[in-house]
Assembly symmetry: C2
Homo-oligomer: 433 residues x 2
């Protein structure tokens, strides 16, 4: 589905939008904002350059397809993503026309606001949040640390491994992350202690926002699974490695993860990402073929450039920019595609609903510099990473600001970005003082 | 908090309520119903004997505390359980007066309906569902089957083990359960097959319904954790043992569980259960003491009688009643108390909200006849259980109707029951035909 909304020559009349690294007119992401001053009720928007456009306002003026007005007047995107894909395609086309055609300037301008004047919110009321584990290089590297003798378990190349996470503690980029307390047990200690986490980590993931609904008992065939992906975001699955190591057997991570999960605010739609779909990497010789319910034809994979940056309190004080921790690409990292993730999740009849969030799992590439967590970058905390200002890190310290970045790039197409996914670590609180 | 609403001599004027095994006037559970005919919008109710009372109707008549009218007019219990505990105490007292005092008969009668004429719904819009694993005899027995050398892991007696489950697929008692498909791998097979589950099981659990809200980053101290338990239900954590065995490492059960979870419709309130609280069983000599954030004083445990029954299609055809599979007591089964479960869940700052559901984990007692799953009762599928009609079972077969039952009993108090938690197994569908 590559059409004129992907024409790289198209430019928006909005100041600063042409050549914008994240939000040129070819992107048109969807999100929810409110004004910092004045009316603070959340409203649906798109981003264009360094501005946002109030879509509820545009719809009320009759400038958008009439059938979308009710969904666009909601405080979340859930209703809009419950509609048919054709409705979101129609919205994209209408927005593209309004923002690329100079003669629409007067119609749009009353609903255009500088991004600096608004606050962005979580785009959906999240029903369920599931986290997968499709980054095979991450699974291998972490597996080596937790199970040196058995890094990649026998099910990995047959099953898109996933588990349920906590929906209530998902927050939008910019929300501070309080260092959690937990049970920590050193390998040589007799008993655990209850103390603030000492091995606080990030995990670089993509998030899939589900569109549409399937009833309980009605699986999603692999051939239609892409239609259930409304769009993508960046997702930081903050992880307390010391809590995780002690609690995770036999039922998986729990308090090590559910104190916070951060997502980027803009939904980069499946339509905007269409040009960046590509064939999955061939499975290495000897790997099993997927079972039929997971067998996908065509361009099921996504090539998205990923980057992680860190800025410490000392760096901020010295006026230094963020430091790049890692850079890689989703294509090299993912053993299973987005459609395989969705089809597997629903293969037992599990019902997925618009606004559900599915994390891919940490997207580390095959090389050390593309690792998506400090656990990998510091080799389990054994090798500190040097930083500017003479500092170093094995895990995150209070005041650290960790940011994830993503861009879709391809020759002949305008680059589109996700906008950052940021969180700053705050000191643990003394809750039982 | 034992008051006159627990007086065993009290009786309701409603026909059949006096001596009712589940719903005498001392119970006063809360739920959501709609009429089978006529107005089918969901409304909040209590149960009394074989009747339900429409609380929205009573409130609209001014017969209940005025401050509750808005919460009682909702289609779920979430708003009511977001209020202070004192509000629900006031509601209990008002209902007790209305239903025990003959002179209130005229006031209540217009809102009284035979249970046979109504449908019961899920009582809450569930935000997040978490399942714990506090049944130590179950954990030991299952551990033996999955890890013969290592049944109870070293963290078990320090950490109330839990993991996140799927909120979207929780259904109310009576909803049919479709046998799920999944990846199954025999121990001696080279690769898994995709097929309908062959080892479908139940798990007998209690569910805790959360009341109130704590902000992200604000743990719940153990001393106030009981206030966060709005009430209890029965919970059947249907489990596909063959899917589970293959998928569960390293991140825990996923598709083996999230195809369906069934809860009983009535919320047995914390107030109704107050007389049945008791001191936890002393920890066996040599067991570690809980860390301070889990150290609880007083009557933290609950003594609730539990029972599981099975009725096959052949038994129904022969007019036979359900067959008892197991019977036990929550007190003997639970290594951690409800307050310890809540305090642990929020100990890292995880936010819990009114309407969240926390399963206890399977509540098997120390003896074979009190096992809460077929996996235990059939010793991992090796010893079939004889049934009436000459049948036997290792795991559930299509047409089987599995029911959980619970009662709170104590000398000097009226027995109160939970009402059944029932599900019937339906054949797998051929979704990819």
């Amino acid at each position: 589905m590559i059409d004129h909304t992907h024409d790289p020559r198209a430019q928006s009349w909005v100041d600063g939008a042409a050549g914008h690294p994240d939000f040129p007119v070819q992107n048109l992401p969807l999100g929810v904002f409110s004004h910092k001053n004045g009316d603070t009720a959340p409203r649906i928007a798109t981003a264009i350059g360094d501005h946002v456009v109030d879509l509820a306002g545009l719809a009320a003026d009759g400038a958008l397809p009439a059938g979308l007005a009710t969904a666009l007047a909601q405080p979340t995107l859930n209703a809009l993503f419950r509609l048919a894909e054709a409705d979101r395609v129609a919205l994209r086309h209408a927005l593209f026309a309004l923002l690329s055609s100079e003669r629409c300037r007067l119609k749009v301008t009353p609903h255009l606001y500088p991004a600096a004047d608004v606050v962005l919110h979580l785009p959906f009321a999240i029903g369920d949040y599931t986290d997968f584990y499709v980054g095979i290089h991450h699974a291998t590297a972490i597996g080596k640390l937790f199970r040196p003798d058995n890094p990649l378990l026998p099910n990995y190349k047959h099953v898109p491994i996933g588990y349920h996470g906590r929906a209530s503690s998902v927050r939008v980029s910019g929300t501070q992350v309080v260092r959690p307390w937990g049970q920590l047990k050193a390998p040589d200690a007799d008993a655990p202690v209850h103390a603030p986490c000492r091995r606080l980590d990030h995990e670089l993931e993509l998030g899939l926002w589900i569109a549409g609904d399937n009833d309980l008992g009605a699986p999603v065939p692999i051939g239609t699974a892409w239609e259930r992906i409304g769009g993508l975001c960046l997702l930081n699955d903050w992880s307390a490695r010391d809590i995780q190591a002690w609690e995770y057997q036999p039922l998986g991570p729990f308090l090590a993860k559910n104190f916070a999960t951060t997502v980027s605010p803009w939904v980069i739609t499946a339509q905007a990402l269409a040009p960046f779909r590509t064939a999955p990497q061939p499975r290495p010789a000897g790997d099993p073929q997927p079972l039929p319910y997971l067998r996908e034809e065509g361009e099921g994979a996504l090539a998205i450039t990923l980057e992680t940056t860190l800025r410490t309190a000392a760096m901020r004080a010295a006026g230094l920019p963020p430091h790049r921790l890692s850079h890689g690409n989703s294509h090299a990292a993912m053993y299973w595609t987005p459609a395989q993730i969705v089809a597997h999740h629903a293969s037992n009849g599990c019902d997925l609903h618009a606004g559900d969030l599915l994390g891919t799992g940490t997207l580390s590439g095959p090389t050390p510099e593309s690792a998506g967590s400090l656990m990998e970058l510091s080799q389990g905390g054994k090798v500190p990473l040097p930083l500017p200002c003479g500092e170093s890190r094995t895990f995150l310290e209070d005041g650290d600001e960790l940011a994830l970045h993503a861009r879709a790039e391809r020759d002949g197409f305008a680059t589109i970005g996700f906008g950052p996914c940021v969180g700053q670590i705050m000191p643990a609180r003394q809750p039982w003082a």
